[in-house]
Amino acid sequence: MIKKLCALLLVTALVGWSLVSPPFGARANTKGDGLDFGGVVKLIESHYRVKGKGLPWVARVGIKAAQPFTRLAGYGGVKVVVFEDQDFTSPARGVDFNEMMRGALKPAWSALVEVQARAANEQTLVYYREAGDRFKVLVVTIGARDGTAVQVELSQSKMAELMKDPNKMSKVINEDTTSGAEPE
């Protein structure tokens, strides 16, 4: 009987602890982990039922070497996934992609620019988070047939320069990191 009582108290304590403590996901968020780049790519893939391809490291180095030095100053930690010739016109129903992204990236990432052009079936989302004295910037661009997800680390001065015109920020980052490279 005492064993049963102990078991009952243990179950009570465990259930109580689970009620009082935040869920595992929330705990990860409070540490500021948020969703990582791979998670963002998976989110795009599952929402639009598409498949992305990463740019090989060598290609990224090639892009860097090919770009004028001034444009690349301040960039680092480039991660790129491209979605070529895929159908982005029939996303999962009931959930807005933008809202879903916001929810998944909170609280570590903050939305900086969100542009949607319904007629052209295009949307561009730019999020950022602080990384020491640098900034991590995540750019997701989705069109009717193509898309890209890019994450870069920017120096403060590069970030400041790009913020002069936030609407062009995604275009500049995309061009600087993906132009001329073939996906894996």
């Binding site: 049963k4 009582l5 009082v20 969100e114 542009v115 949607q116 319904r118 913020m163 015109d165 936030p166």
Partner: protein
Amino acid sequence: MKSYLRQSIRLACIALIMLGAFALARGQAASNQATSGQVTGNSGRLMIDDLDRLTSKAAESVNVSLDERLLRIVPKAFSEKDPDERKIKEIIAGLKGVYVRVFEFDAVGAYSDGDVNPIRQQLRAPGWSRIVEVRSRKEDQQVEVYIMNNGDKVDGLAVLAFEPKQLVIVNIVGTIDLEKLSKLEGEFGVPVLEIERDPKPRRK
């Protein structure tokens, strides 16, 4: 022994209910804290997220959010030598946030007063006042400019610009001089609104 067990179960149930209530209360408190930190913590900051529902109706929408963390680094991009850039640096120094929403619609009447009323309601709160002697040089554009006064200081500014097929909301948080607002047009996602002081000011 049976009654002892029954009593233990009853106590365990009470403990669970109390823990549940505590967890709910804590969650509610955390949620309230998050909301108040976002809205009332920044004087001059408007809640404009409700406008996001217009995104699905709009042919094109732009949402730019520059918070204090970002604005702190912006001066690095502007030169001290160029007089215009120096002025922009001075303006930014007093800012805590720039929030812009632009919606362009295919048809006239796609948005209504009802969509904008929640913002107007916030602008009726103490501290906010409308500047009447402001107009837009753009044809078909009606502009409402509001400032949040905190004593002698201006802690925030809101611009509501209406065109038949376009709606623009700009909320600038922090110390801002209306005369210098035009310097921010075209910068940091703030659209060119062509706002100017009315040469024949009216009294409201």
